[in-house]
Subunit: 249 residues, 2 copies
């Protein structure tokens, strides 16, 4: 075990921040760490938009489902999958890169690249004593978000990252049992074992909620997941992604 491992293992999302902005230096360190992540074939298929304008932050907060910590934080980053510069490169180098740019494969590459960079940013921030929260809620209404941030064609805002000085303590939620997530040499498919693991995990999660809410909440992981996934959310996504010019071909 070492300091880095401790930091990784102790992640929890922070949803309340002190009224104190990050310094320019902190922001640049976080972005440079993001850029240091591995990138598929060196493609660097992302851009990061820092939002400092108060009105824009308020508007983003509304769009993300009225999450106050989207407006109130030390800095708000929006991570975008970005193949627009590769389109420009096609023009500069006089080559037709559009079939690649519009492929499902490169859409996946851009998403993965963006997420790897974002996770480095998150860890860099946490190592500076800051708290973070990923904001998938910006995908509630990407039409409005992309207008607000003026993202061009082939740029897809994926998620926000609220960063700031923590003004709350939160507990770490227990994850799925390691043996449920980690397989060796092949994917185990023993349904009975699988469901037993899920039941075991349900007990852990239920106890976690009971202890933290004086018994007011006792839901299991599988019931949480079923309720969340039963509601069909963001079903406009395919159409939006294609409109943005990542065509899922």
């Amino acid at each position: 075990m070492n300091e880095n491992i401790n930091l990784l293992m102790n992640h929890r999302s922070i949803r309340k921040f002190e009224d104190k902005l990050l310094t320019r230096e902190q922001i640049e360190v976080i972005v440079k760490c993001a850029q240091s992540a591995a990138t598929s074939s060196f493609i660097q298929a992302y851009s990061i938009i820092g939002v400092t304008d108060k009105d824009k932050k308020m508007k983003l907060s509304e769009l993300a489902g009225n999450q106050s910590y989207v407006a109130n934080n030390g800095h708000f980053f929006v991570f975008c999958a970005d193949l627009s510069r590769h389109e420009q490169i096609g023009e500069m180098e006089n080559k037709d890169l559009i079939p690649s740019i519009e492929s499902t494969e490169k859409f996946m590459v851009a998403l993965i690249d963006t997420a790897l960079a974002a996770q480095n940013a998150a860890i860099a921030a946490e190592s500076l004593g800051l708290g973070i929260c990923y904001i998938g809620g910006i995908r509630n209404n990407l039409d409005e978000v992309s207008k607000l941030l003026k993202t061009p064609k082939r740029v897809l805002p994926l998620f926000g990252l609220a960063v700031g000085y923590p003004a709350q303590m939160t507990d770490k939620k227990p994850r799925l049992p390691l043996e449920h997530v980690y397989h060796e040499n092949e994917y185990r498919q023993n349904n009975e074992e699988y469901r037993n693991q899920l039941q075991l995990y349900n007990n852990i999660i239920s106890e976690y909620y009971v202890a933290r809410t004086n018994g007011e909440r006792n839901d299991t992981w599988t019931s949480q997941m079923a309720n969340m996934l039963e509601k069909q959310s963001r079903m406009y996504m395919k159409e939006f992604v294609q409109k943005t010019g990542m065509d899922l071909k």
Copy 2:
């Protein structure tokens, strides 16, 4: 600056490893760190397959384009986007989750979740003095890879992560200028400035190659990208993803 920042900033891919396996403890620490990453609405939509069987590693190495370090390393992880357990949860909880599971939105969520977890694994490994290399090459032939690893429906192998004791020193490749990747409040779209930044970066990358290859290689970033993207690769991906049961609806 701190130890964590140093670690993040000093990442480089390692493609040659000593003949020494990771211990069970190292593997478990790496997986636990992966699991500690943020996960969208707690969905935990990934699985990790560790490959230790020598024949399987050889076969994966071939499938990934004859990359020897896929076979020869301390441990080989395959990170998979996984919505299969959520399908089972639908059965357990008696709810129809299929429209969600087959949506483009949840496909994106699963990819992002998997990449965040993988980047934590990569950093954990590097903090233990190990080197890492992401292997997107497994996507060259996912049909064979998924047969080899027996991944069920709704599980999509995304990339490998070769981990081991470094047997080479490599240099860190300079990333795009920060001001090219980082925007504030809105996405800047000044094409002239944009192309100037790319030219500047081209010079940096070209000098980087010249210095490291005794002048044998001097390609620019934009030419590299144009050559890479001009070749249409893995155009079967959409069909495969849909066959796997992440239907991009």
